[in-house]
Amino acid sequence: MSLSSDGPKIMPDAESAREAIETESIAVRRHGPFVHLRERWNELPRQAQWAWLLIVVAIAFALPYLNFFPLTTEPGNDWPIACFSMAVYALVGVGLNIVIGYAGLLDLGYVAFFAVGSYTAAMFTSPDSPLAKIPYLWTLPLAIAITMFFGVLLGVPTLRLRGDYLAIVTLGFGEIVRILATIIPAMNGQVGFQNVGHPPGTDAHGLPVFVVSNGTPWYWLTLAVIIIVLLLAGNLERSRVGRAWVAIREDEDAAEIMGVPTFKYKVWAFAMGAGVGGLSGALFAGQVGFVNNQKFDVQTSILFVAAVVLGGAGNKVGALLGGAIVAYIPVRFTAIADYKYLIFGVVLVLLMIFRSQGLVPAKMRLLAFARRAMHWVPPTEPKSAPESANATEGSAS
């Protein structure tokens, strides 16, 4: 478990190591539609990027009204509520991506944080709960705080484990939370909590804006939350925190030796991911208006992981899309909804074979002022030396 790989491991012959590296540098040329798109995106000036983002955000906000044929859900599924559900899954994807995508910690019990967030919102607003009541919107930061606490609670004892071991322990944690909800009397088990609170506000007729039957305001609220979370996650990504996470993902031992306090940053990754999970859980509880112990099973956890892997682990936009797709497919194609795990399974297998990096592959920007580096980089002129040719073409293409 320690750095045994550096010591007693049989040292590969340096010459063969060299060859391996040089062959790999040719092999890593990536293709795909998104690579080209990303290059063009990166070349755009800052203002143009913001303008495009504004358009995307505007379309996203208009989504509940874009209820026409190829997009719309099948009869029986409400389109605005489907939009909300997509947004919640997208938010879950962004949160889980911090844990899996950035720090490379496979968390198979993420639904536990979602559950903690849901129960926080329910127990502090529902009349069925013995706890003191607070306004719904206050439960959002509270849910973040409580789930972050649970994230640390889970992280401190388990994050000394790696890889498969960590995955198994998190899987167990997910089950523990669900079972606790069943056996602790105050959590009402299957009876659950009715009439979970909602944000204030009434329309022209004096009726509340946020109701269970109308997904649109909930969707807008969630979308606003997503945008804030994306901005904050972007800040983390382009900082020593994001770099520490990716360094841990790439090579934990090397990261530690380069001065990264790996344990501390792994716990932070868990806490941050948990906070976003709790936030999405609280939003979900608000819209549905009812929370009991039936919604937080292992399958949902696996679905969350599938969303991140499908979209592209390590890329927050990818995880966002992955989450939205995972929520969208069952409501768009009701006929196949019962087979959704089968279909997602097949899709994931195919994806792993043909596009293992996910729909939107990760190419993280880990520096806050990367553009400043550009003036340092001398223009690459074509090289004649045979050795360098391989390496240069690799990324210049």
């Binding site: 380069m258 001065g259 941050m272 690799g394």
Partner: protein
């Protein structure tokens, strides 16, 4: 790639060797003491056992500030074990390592790095998905103090550190001669560039002692020459260097002093010239055909 002797440097990586001074903005933020003589690191009776295997047996030596110390020995002599025990990767069975008089015993690896002991790896261990510049900035982060909330909210310290890290990172890449590859992913770099990037990343942690674990493995003679120049330039900048190397020509050419290990024990500790003529060393090591070692 054949190992045939090439008259011209085969890579484009080596350009900035005439003036290896760190560019402005890249200087260490710490006061570097350059006077040679005083002990920087003291290795005291270091013993390392793996089960029944005695990998290091009561090894003691000093590293003086500002020198380049070579650590050599035949395969399996315990060079890398000694390295790992010093840098906290292994917990020594007994003995101690002092950095400027402070014991490193029982400290976490990242703490040891922050105390001023950085290393490279025999088998390259870069962060493959990060660009070269990002790899170096991970090293620089060892000296940064931005907190997670600070990064989340882009507080002034974060902004200041991020801005300076670009300049220092680029200067370090330029120093090792791979500035033109700053935006490439580490795994896309050529082998020689990867080795150089490892050195740049270790230098970025602003070490008092830089430990290089076989930096010339897999290099051709021309590249070895350039590496020697780089190691000398690193010393000129005020860093102390501990060099593990198989290649005797390189070790003899660049070090001030050499410690020889054999079967986990210290065999000799002297200037290169004396080591070259030491009959015990010749018997243990130089008696073998030199070509095999490289």
């Amino acid at each position: 790639m054949s190992d045939a002797v090439q008259a011209v440097p085969a890579s484009d990586d080596i350009e900035t060797f005439d003036e290896p001074a760190l560019v402005e903005g890249a200087e260490s933020e710490r006061e570097v003491a350059v006077e040679v003589g005083e002990n920087l690191v003291e290795v005291r009776n270091l013993t390392m056992k793996f089960g029944g295997l005695l990998a290091l047996d009561d090894v003691s030596f000093d590293i003086k500030r500002g020198e380049i110390l070579g650590l050599i020995g035949p395969n399996g002599a315990g060079k890398t074990t000694c390295f790992n025990a010093m840098t906290g990767v292994y917990k020594p069975t007994s003995g101690d390592v002092l950095l400027e008089g402070v014991s490193l015993k029982g400290r976490k690896q990242h703490k040891i790095t922050r105390m001023g002991l950085a290393r490279t790896f025999q088998n390259i261990r870069l962060f493959g998905d990060m660009t070269a510049l990002e790899n170096v900035v991970v090293g620089l982060d060892a000296r940064h103090r931005t907190s997670v909330p600070g990064a989340l909210l882009r507080l002034p310290r974060h902004v200041r550190e991020e801005a300076s890290s670009i300049d220092r990172g680029m200067a370090l890449l330029e120093f090792v001669g791979i500035a033109q590859h700053a935006e490439k992913r580490a795994r896309e770099l050529s082998y020689g560039s990867q080795r150089r990037l490892e050195i740049a990343r270790a230098l970025a942690t602003d070490p008092k002692l830089l430990c290089l674990d076989e930096p010339a493995a897999g290099f051709n003679p021309a590249e070895k020459e350039e590496l020697m120049a780089l190691i000398r330039a690193i010393r000129e900048e005020g860093y102390t260097v501990l060099l593990i190397e198989h290649d005797m020509k390189l070790v003899m050419g660049v070090t001030d002093r050499i410690v020889v290990l054999e079967f986990g024990r210290k065999l000799a500790d002297d200037v290169p010239k004396a080591i070259r003529n030491d009959p015990r060393v010749i018997a243990a090591y130089l008696g073998e055909p030199e070509d095999d070692a490289a």
